[in-house]
Amino acid sequence: MSELRISEADLQALVDGRLHDDRRAEVEAAVAADPALAERVTAYRAQAAALRAAFEPVLEEAVPVRLLDATRPRRRRVWALAAGLLWAVIGGVAGWAISEAYRPGVQAPRAQEPLPLRAAIAHAVYSPEVRHPVEVGADQEKHLVAWLSKRLGAPVRAPNLESVGYRLMGGRLLPGESGPVAQFMYQCEKGTRVTLYLRTEGTDHGETAFRYADEGNVHVFYWIDRKIGYALSSADISRDRLNAVATAVYKQLNP
């Protein structure tokens, strides 16, 4: 048997099937003659197969919306929207402040900003968050609900939306115009998110109808039940789908 010199690179190339036919035959023969080499080649091939098998499922996963967004030239639209809405609010508040400053006499009770607009801003700001989408996670749901109820001064609940494909991620406390407001965030398997925004209304409105608003590219369904205003927002799903989720929320809160 002829003594062949096998380089380390030959061995790697054999594992990867990257040797030319002639060379491959030589290297294979040399490996066959050396049990230690043969064992290494077998181990490396098994290792490669294990790596491929372990990460193969990633190829089948739905691509997260934010990655698709990243390939669009105007992927800043969510942020642009948030910025736009913020300017609208600032403009509104400034306008209000100026008119108020020139108004003599008694201060009228201040009207709240429209519910869907505030909800859409909160949605646009927090729903793209990857690492910190919520302040308190769903694993501490009891604590989350108790905390938000206490801060809002009214019992709030985080509806269970698994029947419509959304799982609670958690929630956070936000500053409203006249006090704390709450936001719950939900995510579906594909990674789309909806947020439920809750705030206490100054006066008891009884029960209002289901309403719909488009704030930029954020769809919002909203309604007021007694002293709490609810708004469900999403930028990722269709109006019909959001309507189904909103209906589920409403039914759970008003059994």
Binding site: Q12, L51, E56, R66, L67
Partner: protein, 169 residues
């Protein structure tokens, strides 16, 4: 500006970028962050890509640069970033279970060895392609590959390799 057709080509490659990133970075959310940064960077300099050349190679080159920058930045603020990385961003499903064992062993490899191994094995790139994506000589690719395989083998052989392979199927 990228045309719609170019964009489709980029979108078609996203699953492969994600697979590589997932193996490269243990945390799924951080892996998608890496892909997102890569796509944004690619879009920003799309005029530099010459149609007809290999889009995959170009994207993986960009991802390598983004990755190296991240590591450099992390080194500067190690404590902070490690905490952020530890946050579970997305629930892992069954398929991720098998990946986790390997991932642990992969994580112990130096990142430059991990990159080479994954580009060769998962992306099935030629050694030359790997060399140009990473901007190193082909000899360096070969020595990193050899070391990565040796280390991964000893890390995995701590447990029972045959049982492990059955789990993975």
């Amino acid at each position: 500006m990228a045309s719609a057709m170019d964009r489709d080509q980029v979108v078609a490659l996203i699953p492969r970028l994600r697979r590589y990133a997932r193996a490269l970075v243990a945390d799924a959310g951080a892996a998608d962050d890496l892909v997102q940064d890569t796509l944004e960077r690619a879009l920003g300099k799309f005029h530099l890509w010459r149609p007809g050349t290999d889009l995959r190679a170009w994207l993986f080159t960009i991802m390598h640069n983004v990755f190296v920058n991240q590591i450099r930045r992390r080194r500067d603020s190690a404590a902070f970033d490690e905490e952020a990385m530890a946050l579970p961003v997305r629930p892992s499903h069954d398929g991720a279970l098998a990946a986790r064992d390997l991932q642990r062993a992969l994580d112990r490899l130096p990142s430059e060895q991990r990159e080479v191994l994954l580009l060769v094995v998962l992306e099935e790139m030629s050694y030359q392609e790997v060399a140009s994506a990473l901007g190193v000589p082909i000899g360096t690719v070969m020595s990193r590959l050899s070391r990565a395989r040796g280390k991964l083998r000893s890390a995995m052989e701590g447990a029972t390799p045959s049982a492990r392979l059955q789990v993975i199927k």
